[in-house]
């Protein structure tokens, strides 16, 4: 589904991502783990077009998307959540999720200005779709609140709903469990499993080994910009390099 080949990203003299290649398989949950500052988020940003890279290639469904524009990649079917909350805080929860539907709503400026019958129909359909996404993360009852008024863990769930509303083929989740308590983490695991059941491929960054080992089918491990291991969760767990990075490094 997504293939990254020899991606390298430099910030000044620091090599954040060093010659990393990975493959995200369709319909599976792929995990990306590693200690803080390993370059996981930078790799994410490269896939979703936020970070430009002069070296390496990224392919999506066989087509090259290296250094693509963020909004175009979203249209193509790559959506994401952010490590830091990136919601539109002054807008309502429903409107946040409606932004996710933006590139799936066909009407244009004339519809926007005059609310033509076609526009009303499409808008209604989009709203229903969004409420479905909100129901999936269990937040439908909060749809009219301003996004800024929600708790941290809830905002993370709204981000997932918003990303789902873009009707992605691949969903990139950047540390979705950060700042969540144990119960919330459990709910999150259920949500991610439901997302895969919908046929959406998931690539997930996680800090918490326990979470990632439970839900991923395949795991990549990064440390200090390098890919140091890959394999099934069990293989990775017993890999000496990974143990060294987690216990010795951090």
């Amino acid at each position: 589904m997504i293939r990254a080949e020899n991606v390298t990203v430099r910030f000044g003299g620091v090599v954040a991502v060093n010659d990393v290649s990975m493959h995200v398989e369709k319909g599976k949950v792929t995990g990306l783990i590693g200690p803080n500052g390993a370059g996981k988020t930078t790799l994410f940003n490269t896939i979703n077009g936020v970070q430009k890279t002069p070296e390496g290639h990224v392919y999506f469904e066989g087509k090259e998307i290296t250094n693509g524009k963020g909004y175009k990649l979203c249209e193509a079917g790559i959506s994401r959540t952010y490590q830091q909350i990136n919601l539109f805080l002054s807008m309502s929860v429903l409107n946040n999720v409606m932004i996710g539907q933006h590139c799936r709503i066909p009407y244009g400026l004339v519809g926007s200005l005059f609310h033509t019958p076609k526009m009303r129909r499409q808008e209604q359909a989009a709203r229903e779709e969004c409420i479905k996404c909100l129901e999936l993360v269990g937040m439908a009852d909060k749809k009219d609140l301003p996004a800024g008024a929600l708790a941290y863990g809830e905002q993370r769930l709204i981000e997932i709903a918003r990303a789902l509303a873009t009707k992605p083929k691949v969903l990139l989740l950047d540390e979705p469990a950060a700042g969540m308590n144990a119960t919330e983490k459990l709910t999150l695991n259920n949500i991610i499993q439901n997302i895969t059941k919908m046929g959406i491929t998931v690539l997930i960054i996680e800090h918490d080994m326990a979470v990632i080992m439970e839900i991923s089918d395949y795991v990549y491990v990064m440390d200090d910009g390098h890919l140091i291991a890959e394999g099934t969760p069990v293989e990775v767990q017993n890999n000496p390099a990974v143990i060294a990075a987690y216990l010795g490094g951090a």
Binding site: N48, H102, L113, F114, T166
Partner: protein, 338 residues
């Protein structure tokens, strides 16, 4: 209509009643105010509301600041006046053409400007506005210092300039159209996208919004409205002169939306009324006016960033609560009796 009204919450009812009352008062006003200068004064408020609404699409909705929108009034005004004076196209059509031309100019300058960060965009709009003024002063066929006289606005055979009551109602109709369209825009895909760009342009990009496109669109819409306001202003006064378009006047539109409330439908209305009133009251005290406007901006940004509309909303919410409580009290009283 009435059955739909019953489905609203008390607060929505209060708001709608207030708007209706305001509209009715404004509609019957010319029956009592017959002084033609007063009517002209009110017609002019229409110009300000349209221009301020335009600026609000840019500032309130899409989060881009401009201190140079007076330039678009200039383009709209001069294009409309030149067209009507030299080609004989009906004035109303000239005004619409001028608005589209102004939107085009807005788009052309927005394309390079959309990549600038907030403060540099401000600088670019200031430069653009200064440039526009100087350009007008250097085009001698515009007779920039003495001014040009303009044709009358004729709508379906009715000469609007012949009586300021006509322009009053024309202003009213134009404002109503603009406000409705702006309200519709804010509840649509394009409006939402602009607000997303305002709140967080980075994540808007990630969510499939072409940020550049919507920044330019906001610029074009605001230039359209300001251009139209400029054209209307020229034909309303019957005269156009370069001094009406000096850069510092741009500040007044910003003042209106900050005072009334950004990203609201009625903010520009309240702002424009306040501005026109203060202008009239302090007509001879230029310096005090300048100080007062500065202080208003400073106070509103610090203490009431939502403007007057936010304050009124709070008041409306309080009133709605009071009504609800009253009704609940009556109901319990009735229940007690039975």
């Amino acid at each position: 209509m009435l059955t739909r009204f019953k489905t609203y919450t008390t607060q929505e009812k209060v708001t709608r009643c207030a708007i209706l009352a305001l509209a009715v008062v404004l509609l019957v006003l010319p029956l009592f105010v017959t002084n033609s200068y007063r009517l002209y004064f009110f017609s002019m408020i229409g110009v300000y509301i349209i221009a301020a609404s335009g600026l609000d699409v840019l500032v309130g909705m899409s989060g881009q600041m401009s201190f140079g929108h007076i330039a678009f009034l200039a383009y709209g005004g001069y294009i409309s006046v030149l067209l009507s004076n030299y080609t004989g196209i009906p004035v109303i059509i000239c005004m619409i053409i001028a608005a589209f031309a102004s939107a085009g100019i807005g788009m052309v300058i927005a394309v390079p400007c959309a990549k600038l960060r907030a403060q540099f965009l401000v600088l670019a709009t200031i430069a653009f506005s200064f440039f526009t003024y100087q350009l007008i002063c250097n085009l001698h066929f515009l007779n920039p210092y003495r001014g040009l006289y303009t044709e009358h606005m004729v709508l379906f055979g009715l000469d609007l300039n012949s009586d300021y009551r006509y322009t009053y109602y024309f202003s009213f109709a134009l404002v109503a159209i603009v406000l409705v369209l702006k309200s519709l825009l804010s509840k649509s895909k394009a409006g939402r996208a602009m607000m997303a760009v305002r709140d967080n342009s980075r994540s808007a990009d990630g969510m499939g919004i072409n940020v550049r496109h919507y920044k330019v669109l906001a610029f074009a819409i605001s230039a359209f409205l300001c251009g139209f306001a400029g054209a209307y202003m020229a034909h309303l006064t019957g005269f156009i002169v370069s001094d009406s378009f000096v850069q510092p006047l741009s500040f007044n539109f910003v003042l209106m939306i900050i005072f009334g409330g950004t990203n609201t439908v009625f903010g520009p209305v309240i702002g424009a009324f306040m501005y026109q009133l203060l202008n009239e009251l302090l007509a001879s005290a230029q310096a005090w006016r300048s100080v007062l406007y500065g202080v208003i901006v400073l106070i509103f940004i610090a203490f009431l960033p939502g403007g007057c509309v936010a304050g009124l909303r709070r008041a409306g919410r309080g009133l709605a609560k009071l009504i609800d409580k009253n009704q609940a009290g009556k109901e319990t009283a009735r229940n007690d009796k039975s």
